[in-house]
Amino acid sequence: MATMANRLKLSGFSEMLTTSRQRRENFYGYLFLTPWLIGFFGLFLGPGLFSLYLSFTKYDVLSAPEWIGLKNYIKMFSDDPLFYTSLGRTFYYAGVGIPLGVFGSMFLAILLNAKLRGLAAYRTLFFMPSLVPIVASVVLWKWLLHADFGIINQWLVDIGWSDPPGWFGDRRWAIPSLIFMGLWQGLGGTRMIIFLAGLQGIPESLYEAASIDGATAFHKLRHVTIPLLTPTIFFNMVLGVIGGLQVFTAAFVATEGGPGFATTFYSLHLYRQAFDYWNMGYAATLAWFFALVIVSLTIWQLRLSRRWVFYYGS
């Protein structure tokens, strides 16, 4: 059969075109792929290329795009202070939040993986915050961290911190506030579940062997659990970077980028350029540069992974 032949790499390209079985495969394969193909070209590739074109133009939606060559790119690097500061703040947010989030989730998963009673209830509880819609979570955290009446500051005053932070309203504390909120939402969510699944994939025999060698719990963690979890850590880091750099909703709903520009992350800067100032061409430039940053970081992580990710059994 054709499928067997394909598996055995016996079918040549010409054969793929000629045999009737293959014609059938082509026909139905593309027939069922059609909805996705329409979406891919109409909502992804087409708009993506159009935005690349727009990045070389001045465009405000109402009048036709006007070609201005590299001016947007020059402006981005030489005449837009917010470009650098928003990029810096985005890296600050992601650089602190993602490692804390990934290792925090791993730590919780390791605790939950102990063979103890009642852990399912803990797991469910840890998962709950990730279910809270992000806008609802922002509303809640703005209240928890309210400068004067927030319960957290009232406690901080009680334990002797007479001048607690202003959190979302304080330039220095606005990003940490967003990180705290993100940790509350994210630590026990799907990332923790991915770690739990990863932990369950570690063969019991390795722990038994370590026990026979007299390994302590710390040794087992250091030499068995963590090395075998590196693929999961890597996976979560990659997803974390892609998602974390695009942070928008939390900052937009909590502070609209403020106070001052303290939480004007890259995506907020881009949003403002596009929808407040209608600099659609320039916003497209920002978007393409951003895509380049994310793709390069992902490829860099993939490269780097060869040095530290350990695949058991390979």
Partner: protein, 299 residues
């Protein structure tokens, strides 16, 4: 067990006792850490509900009350009176009612194509599909907005739902494809021998077996739409069309008839908005876990 221990030399016996003592300490430490974490996760949830049932004067006194003196259930009613929150929730449900069938139908078709057919260019399309996950949404945002703007589709749900009818996104397709790949091909081949058409095989053989994966996809789609802020925010600017997420932010910022603080009402609204999600989770917990196991680990 006892017999084994008796046969151990005495030094090893001592080591074993020591180890078991250590285990007990480890257990205690684990429980203490877990309970501390549990309190940190749970308190904000508790505080939402408690704040939502207090008066604003209680909330804004400098003596925090952990519980309301008298639960103010009327706060919940006031949310629905102050803003069209019921309408907004209805709109959010309407959107999910459009997108869930979309992703189930077109997502399954795409996944079926990738999982079961061998056609020219398949590998390229598959890599391109996975690649779309890496590209930030901002790249396509502006042209998509311009497109929908020119098609006069601002203030409709088309921009928010069309994607779900065109495959539903790389993640969902990948998840469904993984699931189809785990179904033995013999079943397809047998149906093929009986003269079933490919669409008939998908409908009659595969889809019934895919129920767990389809449920997972439906749940993820629901969560995604319910949570989604940016799309509805830029495509909808009529208050009566808002979704719950956009409405909640609107409620946070608009002036009301009184200028009294509205923290208690905002907390009530946040709680109301969370109820459908928690209910879904309580009813279908295992499908939440399944999504992870199906997709995350096999990449």
């Amino acid at each position: 067990m006892a017999a084994t221990i008796e046969r151990l030399p005495s030094t090893e016996l001592r080591a074993d006792v020591y180890r078991r003592g250590r285990n007990r300490i480890q257990k205690a430490v684990t429980y203490v850490l877990l309970t501390a974490a549990a309190l940190m996760f749970a308190f904000p949830l508790f505080w939402t509900v408690s704040s939502s049932l207090q008066t604003w004067k209680e909330l804004r006194s400098f003596e925090p009350h952990l519980l309301p003196a008298v639960p103010q259930w009327g706060n919940y009613a006031r949310v629905f009176v102050s803003v069209p929150f019921a309408r907004w929730m209805g709109n959010s449900f309407l959107i999910t009612a459009i997108t869930i069938p979309g992703v189930i139908i077109t997502g399954s078709l795409t996944a079926y194509s990738f999982a079961r057919f061998n056609y020219i260019g398949k590998e390229i399309w598959f890599v391109l599909m996975l690649g779309t996950m890496m590209i930030p949404t901002q790249v396509t945002l502006i042209p998509q907005y311009v497109l929908f703007f020119n098609l006069k589709l601002i203030n409709t749900y088309v921009p928010l739902t069309i994607g779900s009818w065109l495959g539903g996104g790389a993640f969902m397709i990948f998840l469904l494809r993984q699931f189809i790949m785990s179904i033995p091909r013999d079943l397809d081949e047998a149906a093929l021998m009986d003269g079933a058409s490919p669409i008939r095989i998908l409908w009659g053989v595969l889809l019934p077996l895919m129920k767990p994966a389809l449920t997972t996809v439906a749940i993820l789609q629901f969560l995604g739409d319910w949570n989604e802020f940016f799309g509805p925010f830029i495509y909808l600017n009529r208050v009566d069309l808002f979704t719950a997420a956009v409405g909640l932010r609107f409620f946070q910022n608009i002036p009301l008839e009184t200028s009294d603080p509205r923290d208690h009402l905002l907390m009530a609204a946040a709680a109301i908005m969370t109820v459908p999600v928690i209910t879904l989770f309580a009813a279908a917990q295992r499908y939440f876990i399944q999504g992870v196991v199906l997709s995350g680990l096999k990449i």
